[in-house]
């Protein structure tokens, strides 16, 4: 299913190149106002690189990825005779924008009727809220949605999704607490088919990726969904909290292995955390980021914009 939704990597189009230039321009402008001692300097020193590396680490990009990015920028600087710290930073930004621009995908709003989206992730990452947001978003895009209350484990998780369904104005299929989530998913898909709802969003219980049984349960959910909707795509959306550190890489690996994550929702970007670890997730696993969450209201949600994301990392 993965390949269906992912077009092959391609070289940047002229339009994308223009975007990159824009990003570069922003760097120049943004840098002028910066207090960072980095930009008081007119020449690149060892300190410049250390500070850039720290900037990346601070944004949770991770020490190894940060080092690699800085190393590559360093080579570029030597090759291209770049001399100012601003240009050094730009070199790193350009690399990151380029890497994140490598994969193209079909967003949920453009997926065919019958699509089932499993929303998965560790405890408390923002799955249920993201479903409310995605439902609102899809609704605005003219797609009809049905919610499946697949978290039958956590106390009052079903009630939480019910409240959202009511607020957003979309139908919901729910069973009793402790019920088999597979049965919920099956019923929800059948209900969507008979009512003509185009996209089913499945809330799942939060689970740590290290819990073998719970990950198997998730695989089972996917099998059930595939069986109930044999001709429709079943995609998995991993919800990652932007405050998460390097553990997000292990999370993504595990969920990828178990239910083949198609895209990521990066939540809680309204805080001070930058969510830089998803860059490393993408760099390593090529799982693209689809959407971002920027608050607790249902409209605090947007498609992921890699330029904006990279720029924010450096702010």
């Amino acid at each position: 299913m993965r390949d269906l939704f992912r077009r092959a990597p391609k070289t940047p189009t002229p339009e994308q190149k223009e975007h990159i230039e824009e990003a570069v321009q922003k760097t120049r402008e943004g840098a002028l106002g910066r207090i960072s001692s980095l930009f008081r300097e007119q020449v690149i020193t060892g300190e410049t690189w250390d500070q850039l590396e720290e900037l990346l680490i601070q944004a949770d990009v991770g020490p190894v990825t940060a080092m690699t990015l800085v190393e590559r920028a360093r080579e570029e600087v030597e090759r291209e005779e770049i001399r100012t710290p601003v240009e050094a930073e730009t070199a790193i930004r350009r690399q990151m924008v380029h890497i994140l621009g490598e994969v193209d995908f079909v967003p949920v709003e453009d997926m065919p009727d019958g699509t089932v989206v499993l929303v998965v992730g560790v405890n408390g990452s923002g799955k249920t809220t993201s479903i409310a947001k995605l439902a609102t978003y899809l609704h605005h895009q003219g797609r009809s949605v049905l919610l499946a209350a697949g978290d039958t484990f956590r106390a009052a998780a079903i009630d939480q999704l019910r409240v959202w369904a009511e607020r957003v104005g979309v139908p919901i299929v729910a069973h009793q607490p402790e019920a088999d989530p597979g049965a919920v998913v099956f019923d929800a898909i059948k209900a969507a088919q008979s009512r003509g709802a185009q996209i089913v969003l499945v809330d799942t219980a939060g689970r740590l990726h290290t819990k073998f049984n719970l990950m198997e349960e998730l695989q089972k959910l996917k099998r059930v969904a595939n069986k109930a909707a044999p001709d429709a795509p079943v995609v998995s959306l991993l919800v990652v909290d932007a405050t998460t550190g390097q553990n997000a890489i292990l999370q993504a690996k595990s969920f990828l292995q178990s239910v083949n994550v198609d895209g990521i929702v990066l939540t809680k970007l309204d805080g001070t955390a930058k969510g830089g670890v998803v860059f490393s997730v993408f760099n390593e696993l090529k799982v693209p980021i689809w959407y971002i969450g920027t608050g607790e209201k249902p409209d605090a949600f947007a498609p992921f914009d890699h330029l904006q994301f990279v720029n924010a990392l450096f702010e």
Binding site: D60, P63, N123, A155, Q160, V163, T244, G271, T272, V277
Partner: protein, 443 residues
């Protein structure tokens, strides 16, 4: 990933061994490794800087340079410094005149509501009569969540619904507790961002309204670099008296706790180790230190093993391994138990030093359910004698076993080879070539 700092430092110093006297430069190489390890563990980079500086000073001024095992010496210093920052386990501050008031605060999704229920459960076991108070009027069904948890535990929950003003409801909850002879009130608040001024001032109002004896900051063990910002802001707004680190049942290294502790000085009081209401543990600095250093996986592995294998079983297997009487019956049983714990390869990699051994063996066979069933069929088609002493299984026996189990001779061969590998591995383990904690012998 699972290569520990200890392994890396040992490698570095082994490389330097021939050189004679170590210079400050050599020490710097080791410090770089420590820096990387801490950053990988999500310790805040400013905290890392300070920390590494302290370690370096100690290394240069100590016997490390002359030691025969400088790698181990450095690890020891790092470990000691980590413990110094993490501090001793600290108990909850309870009021002389009940009710004691405990306020929980933290970011969204950190685990406050669950922790409230866990604390109530623990305190009740200690003879308290807890009251839970639901002050999250914002997140949908947050109050229902606490009420459901209270019901599960049969612990009362005070709530004024979602129209209530949290500071007022907090004060009323305390009044209610007084009237009902509750000895402790646990206040569950809404998750909030530390930069949300309105919500932070609401938290201050709640604090003013009840003058809590404890304000516990609930933080997720998976938190990255940003942990210090949130913790500093919460500590500046209210008088945080303790930290609860949640979701420690995962594989996060938990460096955020070190950062928070270093920048706020607030003691870590509890660790959350699961979603159930009994999964709360008193903080163990030693375990967290090991985990931050990348050695903690062993402890979780032991825990995993303990969930599946009784102590008695483990002891008997340990003995069998030592006396080399581990047979195919044991092998099958082990495999079925290990299978319940997760993919074999992943488990084995958790053991420090094991990675190399596995690589040498050409990788660990990873088994799925079907394979386990096949193996089960093969082993049960053997005679008792064959299972005890696989050496006697010759060509004709192999054919018979394959027929009996509905498998092929190749599969039987493969299994017997695998068993040989396991035996070899066990010999290595028991001969002390690999460092492996006692509790793990059961594997």
């Amino acid at each position: 990933m699972f290569e520990t700092l200890s392994d890396r430092l040992t490698d570095i110093f082994t490389g330097l061994r021939g050189k004679g006297v170590l210079t400050e430069r050599d020490v710097d190489v080791a410090m770089r490794e420590i820096r990387m390890a801490l950053l990988e563990a999500d310790v805040n980079f400013k905290v890392v800087k300070q920390f590494v500086k302290r370690v370096k000073e100690r290394c240069i001024g100590s016997e490390v340079m002359k030691s025969l095992t400088p790698g181990q010496q450095v690890v020891k210093i790092v470990h000691e410094e980590l413990l110094a920052v993490l501090g001793e386990p600290t108990r909850l501050e309870m009021s002389q005149t009940p009710p004691s008031i405990i306020l929980l605060a933290g970011l969204q999704g950190a685990g406050k509501t669950t922790t409230a229920a866990k604390l109530a459960n623990t305190l009740r076991k200690g003879g308290h009569h807890p009251l839970l108070a639901a002050l999250d009027v914002y997140r949908p069904a947050a109050i229902d969540q606490l009420i459901a948890l209270g019901k599960q535990l049969n612990i009362p929950v005070y709530s004024e619904g979602i129209k209530a003003s949290p500071p007022k409801a907090a004060a009323n909850a305390v009044q209610y507790a007084r009237r009902n002879a509750n000895t402790v009130v646990i206040l569950d608040t809404a998750g909030r961002l530390h930069i949300d001024e309105q919500m932070m001032s609401e938290l201050q109002e709640i604090e003013r309204a009840v003058s809590p004896h404890e304000v516990l900051l609930v933080a997720d063990a998976m938190t990255g670099q940003d942990a210090v910002h949130a913790a500093e802001a919460f500590h500046a707004a209210v008088n945080v008296t303790g930290l609860v680190l949640t979701k420690m049942d995962g594989d996060a290294r938990g460096g955020a706790a070190l950062s928070i502790r270093e920048v706020t000085g607030v003691p870590i009081k509890y660790m959350g180790t699961g979603e159930k209401t009994d999964a709360l543990e008193v903080f163990h600095p030693d375990r967290l230190a090991q985990r931050i250093l990348g050695m903690g996986d062993v402890l979780s592995l032991i825990e995993k093993a303990q969930e599946q294998i009784t102590e008695e079983e483990a002891r008997s297997i340990e003995k069998k391994m030592r006396t080399a009487t581990f047979d195919l019956d044991d092998f099958l049983k082990q495999m079925q138990q290990v299978r319940k714990m997760g993919p074999m390869a992943q488990l084995v990699e958790m053991i420090p030093g094991m990675r190399g051994a596995v690589k040498q063996m050409g990788g660990m066979p990873d088994m799925n359910d079907k394979q386990v069933k096949h193996i089960e069929a093969i082993i049960t088609s053997m005679t008792r004698q064959e299972r005890r002493n696989p050496g006697i299984i010759d060509g004709s026996r192999r054919k018979r076993i394959a027929r009996g189990s509905g498998t092929s001779v190749q599969e039987v061969n493969q299994l017997l080879n695998q068993f040989k590998d396991v035996q070899k591995m066990m010999k290595q383990l028991t001969s002390g070539k690999m460092r492996i904690p006692k509790g793990l012998m059961g594997l």
